[in-house]
């Protein structure tokens, strides 16, 4: 088991290097760099010394060096905890992302939790009462959730919250706690602000997961071991949850690692922009537009790490849940 873990972590490291390198190449692909945009801005303002300033900056950020050297420098510094400097904000990347990373993970975990807590029971009800009105209602709602983009839902909720209910829904903290040190009050305030964005981000994921859970459970309910469990005199609820759901849930755990968690981290970027949440998402989108390479690269590496950790957790969870895939 330890051997397996070490091997998985080894693969993960190789993956991070490959992903960061590839993403660097992709960010490089469009013509120009951050400074060509900067020069345009300075020229537009009629700044004569633009060219000289730009040359200075180019040397400072190492943009005059060849691509490979730049990548290696950044990667080596990354290991030392120095993620480089953002061109746009003219501040170290670590400073920009520091707090946001924590909120991103909290939001992703909250979203995943809500997704599962809602999707699994709904999927189970839908399957157990197949073709009943409950099933029809759940199915219609999950198809709507599946089809509606999260940011649109966020906009609609924002409209109702602000215009109709006069609520404050943007951000993760009330103004009085924004810069306050951590306290019980601040945590409660965070939770109070967290549930709505988490719910919005969750809804798009819930729809699909409900359908998958429903389909899996319907398949499982037709299995002989379910009938055998019933023939033992067990209650229907025990048969459904202990025997059928326990088996039907396996594919969902795989999906959790490979799709749900990463898509929540990345996919909720648009929701985060709409709701003005201090997560990595909005910064990442912005950095890609501005060709702010070190910032974008660091974001990508963090996303990759989250994805790989999510995958590893899912695999361990699966091995824990299902003895058939436990490694001897």
């Amino acid at each position: 088991m330890l051997n397996y873990l070490l091997r998985r972590i080894g693969y993960a490291l190789i993956m991070i290097v490959l992903v960061s390198f590839t993403s660097f190449i992709i960010i490089e692909l469009p013509p120009g760099d951050f400074l060509t945009q900067k020069v345009e801005q300075l020229r537009a303002r009629g700044d004569r010394s633009a060219e000289q300033q730009v040359e200075m900056l180019r040397v400072r950020y190492g943009l005059d060096k060849p691509f490979l050297e730049r990548y290696v420098n950044w990667a080596v510094n990354f290991l030392r905890g120095d993620f480089g400097e953002s061109f746009e904000f003219e501040r170290p990347v670590s400073e920009i992302l520091g707090a946001r990373l924590g909120y991103t993970i909290i939001l992703a975990l909250a979203t995943t939790l809500i997704t599962w807590l809602l999707a699994i029971p709904l999927g189970v009800i839908s399957a157990v009462r197949q073709y009943s009105w409950v099933d029809q209602v759940i199915s219609v709602i999950s198809f709507i959730g599946l089809g509606m983009p999260g940011f649109l839902l966020a906009l609609i909720i924002l409209y109702f919250a602000i215009i109709v209910f006069n609520l404050e829904v943007t951000g993760l903290f009330s103004p009085e706690y924004q810069d306050a040190p951590w306290s019980v009050g601040k945590v409660l305030d965070l939770l109070n602000h967290l549930w709505l964005p988490a719910l919005i981000a969750a809804i798009t994921g819930i729809g699909g997961l409900v359908r998958i859970m429903r389909g899996n459970l319907l398949d499982t309910l037709g299995q002989p071991f379910v009938e055998a469990a019933r023939a033992r005199g067990l209650k229907n609820r025990t048969v459904t949850w202990k025997h059928a759901v326990r088996i039907a849930i396996n594919p969902l755990i795989t999906i959790l690692g490979s799709e749900v968690f990463p898509s929540i981290v990345v996919g909720s970027s648009l929701v985060a922009i709409v709701l003005n949440l201090p997560t990595i998402g909005p910064v990442f989108v912005d950095s890609l537009r501005k060709l702010d390479m070190y910032l974008a690269g660091t974001c990508i590496v963090f996303f990759t790490i989250m994805l790989l950790v999510g995958n590893l957790v899912a695999d361990l969870l699966l091995a824990w849940v299902d003895p058939r895939i436990r490694l001897e």
């Binding site: 002989p224 071991f225 055998a228 019933r230 023939a231 033992r232 005199g233 067990l234 326990r246 849940v321």
Partner: protein, 379 residues
């Protein structure tokens, strides 16, 4: 029409072949499946009874309603099927005295009137009438050990006596309690030993994928018998197994039946297996009971043309004759569009035109303890 017995003001034919007390009486049972294309009469007018400790075989081709009958008894018919007529009378022998210590006598329960998810049927299901299935490979939940499965059945249905010494230093059993976790485990290990699983202390913690097909069916039998049921329904329990394993499983069932005085309803399409197991046989065709007799009578003097054809289609050992194996002519009819008159008439070698395709045969006595549903035997 003899041995007419009255119960609840209704008269039924209750042919009694065995002097042992009755355990289960199926009377004119009808099960229908309402599907989009129409109504399938999966079981249509089935009548038989099972005595305590007796083995009754039910044979017939695939789709003749054997398995549906078994599920009707346990009230586990899958949707959209439902019982549309008849009765299933279960003579419930109280196993444990009531709280005041008085042992109640037999209570007759019509299983067809019970709520299929209710408390009473769940006590009977698994506890008093247990069932083993055709697919041993997938009848155990893959994520639980053999012990977990056994433990479920044992803690649900088994009670242990609380022994007390009475005034005369005689052991008096007046109270029962649920088994503890450790006791359940001991019972589970003992059951695995009895069904012939080697090293049961270790095997009890095995997951299904670590057991062979034969071992899994042994575990299923151990689960079914761990609750000391009055009756075991075996739905083609050896169909999926090798012949050598089949013989072992049948031996175990026979042996355990003798020690526990348990009735067996044995469902199969294998005539060789049924000949070695059953006291009495019911032959079914397209949901209808076509013949019923003692095992010896049925094999040596089959009356219904379907039974005769079925027996002729069994390959026999002997010098090669070059003759083709007899098979039953024609195809199994569409269950949504059954033939008129006798349902077997399009395939029947003794077809009487103008009679068999018009008249529905009734249930006729054709010999001592021998009945058939055929116009050949009608006056």
């Amino acid at each position: 029409m003899e041995n007419a017995q009255t119960l609840a003001g209704q008269t039924f034919v209750n042919p009694s072949m065995d002097s042992r007390p009755t355990l289960l009486e199926v009377r004119d049972l009808k099960v229908e499946f309402n599907i989009r294309g129409g109504v399938i009469k999966a079981v249509d007018g089935l009548t038989f009874d099972i005595k305590r400790g007796q083995t009754v075989g039910i044979i017939g081709e695939s789709g003749c309603g054997k398995s549906v009958t078994a599920r009707a008894i346990l009230r586990m018919i899958p949707k959209p099927g439902r019982i549309t007529g008849g009765q299933i009378l279960y003579y419930r022998y109280s196993r444990y005295p009531d709280r005041d210590g008085a042992k109640k006598d037999v209570e007759v329960i019509d299983l067809t009137t019970l709520d299929p998810d209710g408390e009473l049927i769940r006590q009977i299901r698994g506890g008093e009438i247990a069932m083993i299935f055709q697919e041993p490979m997938s009848s155990l939940t893959p994520v639980y050990t053999a012990g977990t499965h056994l433990n479920e059945a044992i803690t649900l249905h088994r009670l242990l006596p609380i022994k007390r010494l009475g005034d005369q230093m005689v052991e008096a059993i007046t109270k029962y309690r649920r088994v503890t976790k450790e006791e359940a485990r001991q019972i589970a290990i003992e059951m695995l030993r009895r069904v012939g699983i080697p090293k049961p202390e270790q095997r009890v913690d095995s997951y299904p994928h670590q057991l062979s097909g034969g071992q899994r069916q042994r575990v299923m039998i151990a689960i079914a018998l761990s609750t000391e049921p009055y009756m075991l329904i075996a739905d083609e329990p050896t169909t999926a197994l090798d012949v050598s394993i089949e013989a072992q499983i049948l031996d175990i069932m026979r042996e355990l039946q003798q020690t526990a005085n348990m009735a067996i309803m044995f469902i199969t399409h294998n005539l060789g297996v049924i000949a070695s197991m059953a006291d009495e046989i019911v032959v079914m065709y397209m949901g209808k009971q076509v013949e019923r007799a003692k095992v010896v009578d049925l094999f040596y003097h089959p009356k219904h043309p379907y039974t005769q054809a079925l027996l002729q289609s069994v390959p026999r050992l002997g010098p090669k004759t070059g003759a083709r194996l007899a098979s039953i002519e024609g195809m199994v009819p569409d269950p949504l569009n059954l033939p008129t008159g006798c349902v077997f008439h399009p395939r029947c070698p003794a077809f009487m035109p103008g009679k068999c395709d018009k008249l529905i045969p009734s249930w006729n006595k054709v010999g001592e303890n021998h009945w058939a549903r055929c116009l050949l035997y009608e006056e």
